[in-house]
Amino acid sequence: MINKIVASIAEALQGVKDGATVLMGGFGAVGQPDELIEGLIEQGARDLVVVANNAGAGKVGLAKLMEAGRVRKIICSFPRSAGSTVFEELYRAGRLELEIVPQGTLAERMRAAGAGIAAFWTPTAAGTKLAQGKEVRDFGGRPHVMEYALKGDVALVEAWEGDRWGNLTYRESGRNFNPVMATAADLTVAQVHHLRELGEIAPDHIHTPGIFVNRVVRVHRGHPWS
């Protein structure tokens, strides 16, 4: 019997190695798998490269992991936000590398990784400093920038429902980066609000088919930013 459901956060994070590239879902606090992210502190992996839209806020989740000194580099579109003090301090102190990627390019780089596309050409960022050092080619008279696929060793996602095959649904704007990241890593771990029996999630309503998911763990948490 296939059973991807694991009993604990520790089990869900087993095998995450030092230096791993970890994709973390969420847009601000919504759809952000804070329990898994914080679980990495106990798990012990160091020198992590984190891919996330934001660079954490307050003292929870990614901010807590960064404060614990586990993150070497962050790849994100918008590191500054209300309460991103941990990021600001580490960045100013030169203790955190930063790669800024336009939000749509960030999503597409991971989509490409999950879909077996090595690189692609996009008009986004052409002629800007974020295109410096990148290949540029004209298509239809318009400059396009070459961007490489961005693959994770691990993806940590937050879903609303999950079953033992790893099928997932997301809730409202909590979907955001989660389904894209789920496709783009060697090991995808989903924390879910609700476990469902196999077949209980209507096939038409499954957002992420279980093929993309390796482990599912139930977390007891309330609504985001509550």
Binding site: R80, P102, G127
Partner: protein
């Protein structure tokens, strides 16, 4: 001179029924409040929402439903959710009819600078600005005509780091509505009550043209 509310209302006046529109943060967000209720304009939010509605009452906040500024919003009947790659596919794929953005500077060739104020910005944050400016079918900017210190924001060439090249078609400021016409530059379409073209030119860093 127009105030911020009037600027937002002026932008809303030009948005026809049926357009898919992405609104940036600041005055652009206020545009939604001035689209008449009977005119169906579908708002897109880059974190995966179409059919976004206004902010909820304080007792009706849904923590799962936020806009690109991470503020609580509502969903109109017919609205939908989707993931980030689809959301930016809508933008880059030319499916968004209009994006309204704020800006630090717009140049007479349509270049826009709205994400970083200096080359040495310690921790820049671009978000979806470059994707929107390069991808939307139309980009309109609404912003004050000058900085707080009186420096022009409509200029010959942007001095701040670019967000996108040649992206902007129209600018709505507190003083005027200005088209950006390829090969011509800034063409004034409308002037705020009580002002003359010379007043606007004095506060603009590039030559203003008129259709007359």
């Amino acid at each position: 001179m127009w105030n911020r509310t009037q600027m937002a209302a002026r932008v809303a006046q030009d948005i026809p029924e049926g357009w898919f529109v992405n609104l940036g943060i600041g005055i652009p967000t206020m545009v939604a409040d001035h689209v008449p209720a009977e005119r169906e304009v579908i708002l897109h939010s880059e974190n995966g929402i179409l059919g976004m509605g206004p902010a909820p009452g304080k007792d009706k906040v849904n923590a799962w439903l936020v806009n690109a500024g991470k503020q609580p919003v509502t969903l109109r009947p017919g609205g939908s959710f989707f993931h980030h790659a689809d959301s930016f596919g809508m933008i880059r794929g030319g499916h968004i009819d209009l994006c309204v953005l704020g800006a630090f500077e717009v140049a007479e060739n349509g270049d826009i600078a709205n994400w970083a104020t200096s080359e040495n910005d310690s921790a820049p944050a671009v978000g979806g600005a470059m994707d929107l400016a390069a991808g939307a079918k139309r980009v309109w900017v609404t912003m004050e005509h000058t900085t707080k210190d009186g420096a022009p924001k409509l200029v010959e060439r942007c001095s701040y780091p670019l967000t996108a090249m040649g992206a902007v078609q129209r600018i709505y400021t507190n003083l005027a509505v200005v088209e950006v016409v390829p090969g011509r530059g800034f063409v004034v379409k409308e002037i705020a009550p009580g002002l003359a073209l010379a007043d606007i030119q004095a506060k603009t860093g590039a030559r203003l043209h008129t259709d007359g």
